[in-house]
Symmetry: C2
Subunit: 309 residues, 2 copies
Amino acid sequence: MSPDRLSGIYCPVLTPFHEDLRPNADSLIRQCQWLLSQNVGLVVFGTTSEANSLSVEEKIELLDRLVDAGISADRIVPGTGCCAMSDSVKLTRHAVNLGCAGCLMLPPFFYKDVSDDGLFASYVEVIERVGSEKLQIYLYHIPPIAQIGISIDLIERLVTAYPDTVVGIKDSSGDWQNTLAMLQRGWDDFRVFAGSENFLQRVMQNGGAGCISATANINPAAIDRLFAAWQEPKAAEMQEQLDAVRGIIQEYPIIPALKAIVASYSNDAAWKTVRPPLMALDSGRTESLMNALDQLNFAMPGVGKSTSR
Amino acid sequence: MSPDRLSGIYCPVLTPFHEDLRPNADSLIRQCQWLLSQNVGLVVFGTTSEANSLSVEEKIELLDRLVDAGISADRIVPGTGCCAMSDSVKLTRHAVNLGCAGCLMLPPFFYKDVSDDGLFASYVEVIERVGSEKLQIYLYHIPPIAQIGISIDLIERLVTAYPDTVVGIKDSSGDWQNTLAMLQRGWDDFRVFAGSENFLQRVMQNGGAGCISATANINPAAIDRLFAAWQEPKAAEMQEQLDAVRGIIQEYPIIPALKAIVASYSNDAAWKTVRPPLMALDSGRTESLMNALDQLNFAMPGVGKSTSR
């Protein structure tokens, strides 16, 4: 029996690092437990997680630590798409063996000018080599960063060839017309997640499954409330409030900004640490960010707010 | 004592695969031995090597196999720059421990809109963690594919901070003005390699070190002859002949085209195999490619030409 397909709000979980840039598994476990308490699922190793700054071995160790800490694998959807087929197979297989609810899968993204035939073959190799009925793939379309995108035609081919395995997509194109086109194709029970809560109300109005959004790292409950209430009269106002918070954060490099916010509210400066090529937000920009959020009466629920800033 | 800095012709060696897409170490060893016999050095794990379709473990195993087969590490310059700092450190450390002549190092290439500060920090982390006086880094500037480039200012910062470690660059921008700008900065004994033999005569006329070119997989001796004779009257004509061969190959996807040529001349069809997302050249395009090369009286010296095509 294949696992259930997903819906709701998922968070590409920020990866905390020690000062020496090793991943901090204990801190990640706490963040994941807090996100689950906010009714938000765990997309570890998304773009926001600095997944592509981690080795496969580091990702496998973190996944194991999460499950060992008692976090249910059926709430974890790791990103497992790497440049190298061999890496994608190894990490995906590990996730499936742990019982993860699904895998978010980037296409290989180094080589450019590749064809849909080549991308189709890439997904086929991973699916066939993992060779498990339990594998549920959510495609990851993020052309602004990966440069390599997933066309509607490619989705069609994959869903036709593997209807029980290729079950959904995260659309981080930022292009609502593209998301709408995916929704309107009507593939059987195909789950379309918006890549940002900016599109949450619209994606739900058009038969989508929810969103997988970076901002869920700091604003999970409010995003989840809109997911629950999208058909209610207050939904438009809730969407505006989410957009206002997101709008402020998007004025900064988003990963360092989110880490600065978590560092501030958790009173744990180590959270600011990023791996290069990213750079932590400096103190001046952190202060302007936090001041802007304060003006919206924003707070991270359930996280002790720092008294030191 | 630090190793000598490099000059001459280097080849980003094609990686042969078995039918099941495992790397074929025996075939790679033979290709490397043949390239060395043509006076061409070995940049294994370059772009042309499909390096970013191989895991770090696969690269380490291939490097070990080459050295075990008696290929001198001082003729090997592996590509060791990965997206993840931890991967770059592991592979670079292994190459240094084997005694490799240098490492060709891509910047981390997944995250976009990164700063020179972030890229500088990326190289610093690798250099400091490897922590060896034997490490010699050749930067790898290939913005058309990696998207993330290496600016003149970034080179300046790296050369100033690590004058004995950051010793050269491969410029695959395809932009002669950029190569010239690097040459004219006059960093002490900094080795500028053109990324294609199209620029070989010009790079030598302006104080460059040679070239590291994909086409050296199939035309090594002729490229090396121009390197030896660039000051002679016949050099311009030699450059034109190289450009003619390169021009034909560039009409095709270059990695599959080069593999098709090696497959044809070595009478070993397995050489056509690429890992997805690349796709092998089909038989029609292979035939038109080989016919075009025949019209130039092109041949791969020392490689048995197939009688079956």
